[in-house]
Symmetry: D2
Subunit: 361 residues, 4 copies
């Protein structure tokens, strides 16, 4: 458990560095008999791909996944699914200048102190490029639990945020994909894009938040005590590069309420009138929508001169080279959804083990 | 992995319901040769205990832990440590009125739908009473990693919050324990206590936040990619009853900053001038302080009449009976610290596996 | 994973030393809704108990298990089942003479070198007394998979063995329990008992084999590649004290056959005419009987003088004191069955995850 | 845990079918700073490769492994090691005749009943071709624990066996590799080879045993209770295709001895005069040689006509086509050693966690 394996029943093991030969992974535990839509898997990869728009990095990676096992005639066979994505456009030269330098708010120095060695090219394993494997696995997980809808969108960039509940928004794929920032509120989207362009021109970067909504989830998914559904979702989100916070349901805002304000009263059908609980009670899905918000810090690589130190402990000025994102949020959307799908697929399989489970194959 | 086991190398497996015969657990993987301070373990339990002050529940549980194995002459032997806490003051009669009723924002209905059966007495397994086992295990974990200091305190109650960084506060045990709300800022503490008493008199409850600070942590603790240190800390915190959110370092506030504002510049000694990163880079401790904040919702059981439904889907009015906390925060302090200690002990052992590890036995 | 946890979905975590306060454990993952027969659990413990007959140790332990959680009205609730067995008849004085001595073919010295400390009383954690927790958990596992029949019997003691296939024997509980050696072949049983009494009178001990047969097992239990059903059964058996070997189906004898002799030809209904495969193909149950044999070495504690060494590396003569088994086989029967049940319960739950699984709740 | 992951700290996850695009895997947890000898890794693969001699299958696979990550300048970086072996010589046409047929003593029917779908080409995932990934991972594990010597050899073929203890044999690599059956006793080797050729000419196959010896192993490797070192070794061996039995130390023969015959008496230096225990006490290595024997059944695919059934339940005659091994034993040698190395590497890392461990990086 050195950290590169996620999930227990639907389990993915990933490998690969930013500028290595390839990235890839193995999915073990995917049930047999799932008909895979490969175009949809590639679509998810394309949503994560660099170079999609003017507000993301202009690197040019085809990001084509090759499946090596576990599938016959587009159908899973129950044996492990091996996959690989070869790196094509790795301009390692862009990184020679940081070989002996530790970039601020990157893990260069930390890796070197832990491992005694570090792949300096593009951050190596610590680069967000590893998330490509999460998207491949997550895209398959989505197809396993295809009745559940997972949607995420950019809810704030810097201090610009949507001031509406997710219920007031059109969360269709078309709505979210219609602008490059992936914000379903057009007016806010425009402001966000303007903001990012401005920040980019300054050689700087900016943070923001993503909101994720899970609809049509069966009752009974989640395992008490330590493996509460929101705890695992929180871990999954916090494992994504640049994430600094996670809240679900009423979140931090809910700390200011009283119990009588916060409690979700039942309707006769067992559903609740309000949903400050965020669709989870006691760590288990209650059938209401699950929603949560994730905080992303600004990208650490900036196109401005910064002072830092080198291997000899001397100060040195560095400046980002190459092609970087001024704001990771739009490209993080499929990553958030993929990690959500991985958690749900895993816990969905656990939920099937209950004698009283409503979940059928 | 039905959810009652935490950790991999330092692993605790817990059991027990709120009004059952006993709660307890097994710690597997605690190294041999740790001299245990039993008084300190009991101190931690006492900090969690009901009835400590007028602002917490007046239940009267001795909460005495019995160790059954794994220890000789106060020293761990490397074999599993079994422990049990017998329930004494379980007034199950206080719960007869909810036998066929689903309390709002409790997991009564969800458990019943998942398991087909539920222990209605005091919430059964979903009660926060299970956290007593976390405190026992966490108190031992603290003694394993005794050079690391873990301190938590109540940083807000409702809309009353400390408006200071943790660095401006006296975080000694004495400072935090000197008032019943466990807030090291005396003026704020008074307002919090006043607020809680007022809320309690109204038969209501209130939420708040806890801040936790880890000092003197070695560099190199945490495992990329999926098991980043803050991801596991987040999961640990979110697994605590009533927690709705987690943020570390700059957290949600950091989303509003630019990269040039957010980056922590190095000093020549490898430490950073600022610490918006919160002591973790790439999921691995970098030697700076780790700090995070946890959001707790208000307790769902209130002493006011609420409408809810019974087994037959009829509306019914209920009102909390028995002895409940108007605010869980002060009693949650040792739980937060215990879960932090469990994560750190587990990851500390992983870190020892590195050839270059600075961590010695 | 320090070694005291078994299983993944049906998972038991155990603790306790031979002469400590208590032994016990936690079962996590047992599904809700299993009606437990407590008398049957106690029956299994009684079969393992010392003092049952003149050919086993005369220690007098009540071996009464107390369940502490996870059960309401005799029915499992899906929450963890905690249990404890207090030690009563621990005459630790019988062990003072070995405090500073390492007994031959015991783990005294090995434990001390690994852990730096050892519980010398009755072997501490390395004593077969820990198997009592396996029997508690196994008895519950048996009730979870109650349509599957698990039967084991003593098939040889020293050089006296049953020269019949299991199919020629009456494997009913009555048949096996009708003599103290638990061998269903009466003539052989008499010879075995005579042999053990003779060995006991000499102050010596003797080894033997146990055969285990699983009938009525559904098709599809077992997971390739590394978790083949027979691999996990082998591990389970080899984890029992004193076990030196494991074979299933044709076993070691099968190595002398040719493919044309060994292959099990199909009948039209998919069953096979012969069953040298032992009911498992590719690591997965094929619906035929599963059978395997386990080798037990002679008990290391003998009532004869042996030369050994003490802490100072001096030679010393020791002689077993107290009450020991001249042959562990009859008391190992319920342990073998319990470990078999634990493996099957765990893998039965995995098998339910397959879309095409014939296994229903 | 669907079965394709082995180990916990040194963990390998494998994928791939016999006639699919590729096989491969991910090693997670290999420490940083191991200088790899790639030639030695390839040597191990070559020892497993088909076509090495006239007594093994004449398939012509280059079996060249490509490493994709986790290594810089021949040194491990602590990040996961991804690897892939592309299939070249897969003559899937050789298998068209079994598409709708279930071969005797193969897992064709069992897989189909479990998964609802099966890759009929060469046995798919159930083919011993998957063991190539075990050899890659095992070869790296060997280099991690390079002071420990793991040697295995063919000790019997059918009824021809070496009648000598391993101590009387020259177990150098040269000695074992000097004949194609990998038996260090030349006279016996000749008889074995003659036997295999005869069997092969008859279109038949034959079983046998492999003995494995571990020398120079530190004291303290192995975890009680369930994860005893020999239990995990047993599981590892039993997970290899065609294995039907495992015994260590005195094994099945030891069941016939008395305690006074079987006990290994100590010498003053803590070593034992005899070693019937097989180098393990209480599940933990005691520093003496570890040795064990593994039973392999005869290969199920024979070049003789056999009656079997097809999908419609009709009888049909089949006969092996293509290129198969008359005896798997010589090619199984590196697989046995690899699985041994994987167990030892994993448990060696666990042993480092003990405060008193003699194991240094």
């Amino acid at each position: 458990m050195a950290g590169n394996i996620f999930g227990n029943l639907f389990r993915v093991s990933t490998f690969g560095e930013s500028h290595g030969i390839a990235l890839g992974g193995v999915i073990d535990g995917c049930p047999a008999g799932i008909k895979l839509d490969f175009q949809e898997i590639q679509n998810e990869l394309n949503r994560r791909k660099p170079g999609q728009s003017s507000i993301v990095t202009q690197r040019n990676e085809p990001d084509k996944v090759n499946f090596l096992s576990g599938i016959i005639d587009n159908e899973t066979t129950g044996t492990p699914i091996g996959f690989v994505i070869y790196n094509k456009d790795h301009k390692s030269d862009d990184y020679h200048h940081i070989r002996d330098v530790y970039r601020p708010s990157h893990s260069d120095l930390t890796y070197e102190l832990k491992y005694g060695i570090r792949d300096y090219r593009g951050g190596g394993r610590s680069s967000a490029r590893e998330t490509i494997c999460r998207v491949v696995a997550g895209a398959i997980a989505k197809q396993l639990i295809k009745n559940i809808t997972i949607t995420s969108y950019v809810s704030s960039v810097g201090d610009i945020s949507i001031n509406k509940s997710y219920k007031e928004l059109d969360l269709s794929r078309e709505s979210i994909e219609k602008n490059p920032i992936r914000c379903p509120d057009s007016d806010t989207a425009k402001k966000m894009i303007y903001k990012i362009k401005k920040i980019k021109n300054q050689g700087d970067t900016i943070g923001g938040t993503i909101t994720c909504v899970i609809k049509n989830i069966p009752i009974g998914i989640g395992e008490p005590v330590f493996n509460k559904l929101h705890a695992e979702l929180g871990k999954a989100m916090l494992s994504i590069n640049a994430v600094k916070g996670f809240e679900y349901g009423s979140g931090f805002r809910g700390t200011k309420l009283t119990g009588s304000q916060h409690n979700d009263l039942f309707q006769k059908n067992g559903k609740t009138k309000t949903n400050l609980s965020g669709g989870i009670q006691g760590g288990i899905s209650n059938g209401m929508d699950i929603y949560f918000k994730i905080a992303f810090k600004p990208v650490a690589t900036i196109m401005k001169k910064q002072r830092t130190i080198d291997k000899n402990g001397n100060f040195i000025l560095i400046e980002g080279k190459g092609r970087h994102d001024p704001c990771v949020l739009p490209r993080a959307i499929p990553i958030v959804e993929s990690m959500t799908a991985l958690v749900l697929a895993d816990y969905w399989m656990y939920a099937k083990l209950s004698k009283y489970s409503s979940i059928k194959n």
